[in-house]
């Protein structure tokens, strides 16, 4: 076993840190308050070539793996950009995975170079108000004609729907009653968003307010058949392919958010003096921070293990789920300890930890709640009967 850090990875870390250093906490706090997308940050990351890191080199990307992508996202989050920063680029870095794996050559040539360059923003439209995590229960219909498909339905929690030109959209092309399996009959498209048939409405929410998540209505949106990803009816399988990688990236974002919180909390605990000594000298302050560090360390190892397996082409369901679970818990616990360490100031926006806290909370819910991770581990790792 070799735990030595790959020199390349170190370079990636340092380079991303350098870009992020130009966008301090104040930048993110302001965008969060004004609900403004971080265009300048996005442009800087695109210019650095980071957005296309996981897109194959033949399509203008960096051709690197999930390990490198996770390092980029961890560093973005750890800079204090947290989920506002990570979510602004997450889907560009990884969202096109089904297209890379299953799209036609023509489709890849059309979209991937623009995504890699940062010129084309993409969103992800899967879940629906009445479907939740029961993905096969979606009701958005795509009805085929000679040249394309007419799409009608409603999606929820589509992040960046307002900023994106295209959405990777999951639809039902064959009614569930006519399918042998519920997972059949779903089809994935790279659908246009800037079309009069599409209406996006941001959802008012607790945090990560620089990146809006929307409820999106598709009212007879026409999509050309050439924008279909792979075969009709196989969309669910294409999505499953990318789930482990997505979990690892989310875990890395949680880890980074926790690191940012812990860095601020430790600095504050060292400098803040009460009763004539730094508050960090009290075990009641020091221990929760030390514990947060220990838990983040464990989560980091789980992330590295999972991303390594994915990049090696090994099965990684257990490791990816485990990494997401541990990192979401550790990231939130670190943010919570950071708020507590700051006392009253932890509640003030000026110290930024409340923003970290609001964003770290998200990762215990999205893109998949901790409980569903436990369901996965119980069923697929421990062999217990499925509960849902």
């Amino acid at each position: 076993m070799d735990f030595a850090e790959d020199p390349d990875h170190r370079l990636i870390r340092e380079a991303v840190r350098e870009v992020c250093a130009r966008f301090p906490d104040e930048y993110w706090a302001e965008l969060d308050q004004s609900h403004t997308f971080p265009w300048e940050f996005y442009a800087a990351m695109a210019k650095g070539g980071w957005i296309g890191i996981a897109i194959p080199a033949g399509y203008g990307g960096g051709g690197r793996g999930i390990t490198e992508a996770s390092i980029v996202l961890e560093e973005v989050a750890a800079s204090g950009a947290c989920m506002n920063g990570a979510s602004s680029i997450h889907l560009s870095i990884f969202g096109m995975h089904p297209v890379i794996r299953h799209g036609s050559e023509e489709l890849k040539q059309r979209y991937l170079p623009r995504v890699a360059a940062g010129d084309l923003h993409v969103a992800f439209g899967v879940t629906e108000p009445d479907a939740g995590l029961d993905t096969t229960a979606i009701r958005t219909r795509a009805v085929p004609d000679e040249a394309g498909y007419q799409i009608t339905g409603r999606k929820v929690w589509t992040s960046k729907a307002l900023e994106s030109e295209r959405v990777l959209l999951l639809t039902r092309t064959t009614p569930v009653e006519e399918c042998a399996k519920r997972t059949d009959g779903l089809t994935l498209f790279v659908a246009p968003l800037n079309d009069p048939a599409v209406t996006a409405r941001p959802i008012s929410k607790l945090g990560r307010n620089a990146v809006a998540s929307c409820e999106v209505t598709y009212d007879g949106l026409y999509v050309d058949a050439s924008d279909r990803v792979g075969e009709e009816g196989r969309g669910f399988t294409y999505l499953l392919d990318g789930l482990n990688a997505e979990r690892v990236l989310i875990a890395a974002e949680a880890l980074g958010t926790g690191r940012a919180a812990l860095r601020r909390a430790a600095a504050y605990a060292k400098n803040r003096t009460v009763f004539g000594r730094p508050i960090g000298q009290n075990q009641g302050i020091a221990f929760p921070l030390a514990e947060a560090h220990a838990r983040l360390g464990a989560a980091e190892l789980a992330i590295r293990h999972a991303s390594w397996r994915i990049d090696q082409g090994l099965p990684a369901g257990e490791q990816a789920n485990l990494a997401k679970f541990l990192a979401a818990e550790a990231g939130f616990a670190a943010a919570d300890a950071a708020v507590q360490t700051h006392g009253g100031f932890g509640y003030a926006t000026e110290y930024h930890v409340e923003r970290y806290w609001r964003e770290a909370r998200l990762l215990k819910i999205a893109p998949i709640p901790q409980e569903m991770i436990l369901n996965y581990l119980a069923e697929h790792v421990l062999g217990l009967p499925r509960s849902y």
Binding site: N282, Q283, G284, F287
Partner: protein
């Protein structure tokens, strides 16, 4: 009643309660220090019969809730709560809880059936401590039940005969009389069996709790006296379970209190790095959390006892909640206490493990958290 302290209790009742607590605690601290407790556990009975008799004679403890007309003190669950707390605090290993539950069922037969004979014969003997009673109501899973699989009763020309087994019978090895839940045909019923009756046999169920022994009682054509049947039997069983919940919550309060006292005393005494370990926040805060658990559990336990005295609609829910929260808190507190005692806490010689064992076993006795949650789920209409 929001203070949980029984504002509806009279001043006399409160004074009586306080006297009872102080006297009982004084007596147990003197008579049952850890060394004496450990010695008693080594005996066949597992407790000191002399001390048990003294508690019955001097304080009337065995007849605490038995009506005055049958030789008891006729006190309420508010006073019983105090007694259970003190006995739990001392980890009293004698068969008090078992007798209290048996007496409760026997006393309830009088208003249910109008028949005083059984109560007149046995209650005075339970009250003066000359006979020890217990209650055999659990199936092999520890759940209170009159369902098939437990004990069956048949009426013969010579009277009722019992067949089958009951599990988790507290103090079965020393009981003179056993109140048994059984099915007569398909009808639930409660019977009384004398331990010298033919076909009655007790075998021990060795368990984690060294201070409360339980056993399996087996009945093979064992003669029995019918106490109540049908709806009256179901009601008596419910009532006995309710009294058990109140008792187990109150015992936990006492056990937690002991843990807090012992841990705090140790933390003040024990020095490391030139100062008492209590001066380290990690230790001090753990002690404070234990104290908070004590306050919480003593409030819910007293609240449930007073709700019973006042017979409010929420009394059954309050007793369930008290047992659930007390069980969880007691086990948690004993774990923390053992941690705080460091190496010494993991020795046989130290008393902490006896509390951990009691807490662990008490939390799970008669169905435990699962039964509590199921009952509360039903009560709240979920």
């Amino acid at each position: 009643m929001t203070d949980g302290d029984g504002s509806d209790l009279t001043g006399d009742q409160r004074a009586l309660r306080d006297t009872l607590r102080d006297t009982l605690r004084g007596l147990l601290v003197t008579e049952l220090p850890t060394a004496a407790l450990r010695a008693a556990l080594e005996t066949d009975a597992g407790y000191s019969p002399q001390l048990h008799t003294r508690l019955a004679a001097e304080l009337g403890l065995a007849g605490l809730t038995i009506p005055g007309e049958f030789g008891g003190l006729g006190l309420s669950q508010a006073e019983a709560c105090v007694v259970h707390t003190e006995l739990g605090r001392a980890l009293y290993p004698g068969p008090y809880l078992a007798g209290y539950l048996a007496a409760g069922v026997l006393a309830a037969t009088v208003p249910a059936t109008g028949d005083r004979a059984v109560a007149e014969r046995w209650l005075p003997q339970l009250a003066d401590g000359s006979v020890t009673g217990t209650i055999a109501v659990a199936d092999s899973g520890g759940l209170w039940s009159s369902a098939p699989g437990g004990v069956r009763a048949h009426l013969t020309p010579h009277g009722w005969r019992l067949y089958g087994r009951s599990w988790y019978v507290i103090a079965a090895h020393v009981a003179g009389i056993v109140v048994v839940s059984a099915l007569a045909g398909s009808v639930p019923a409660m019977f009384l069996v004398e331990s010298d009756a033919p076909g009655f046999r007790v075998s021990p169920m060795p368990g984690l709790d060294l201070t409360r022994r339980v056993g399996v009682t087996a009945f093979d054509a064992t003669p029995a006296v019918l106490l109540v049947q049908g709806a009256d039997a179901a009601a008596a069983l419910d009532r006995a379970e309710h009294e058990f919940l109140l008792a187990t919550a109150a015992e936990a309060v006492g056990g937690i209190d002991w843990c807090v006292d012992a841990a705090v005393m140790y933390a003040k005494d024990r020095e490391q790095f030139g100062r008492p370990i209590a001066s380290f926040e990690a230790v001090a805060h753990a002690c404070v959390d234990m104290l908070a658990a004590f306050q919480e559990v003593s409030e819910v336990a007293r609240y449930a006892a007073v709700a019973d005295v006042e017979d409010t609609a929420e009394a059954p829910t309050a007793a369930r909640v008290a047992a659930l929260r007390a069980g969880q808190a007691y086990r948690g507190v004993t774990e923390v206490a053992i941690h705080l005692f460091g190496g010494i806490g993991s020795t046989q010689e130290h008393g902490a493990h006896l509390y951990y064992r009691r807490a662990w076993a008490a939390e799970r006795l008669f169905g435990g958290p699962r039964a509590h949650r199921a009952a509360l789920t039903d009560r709240t209409g979920l």
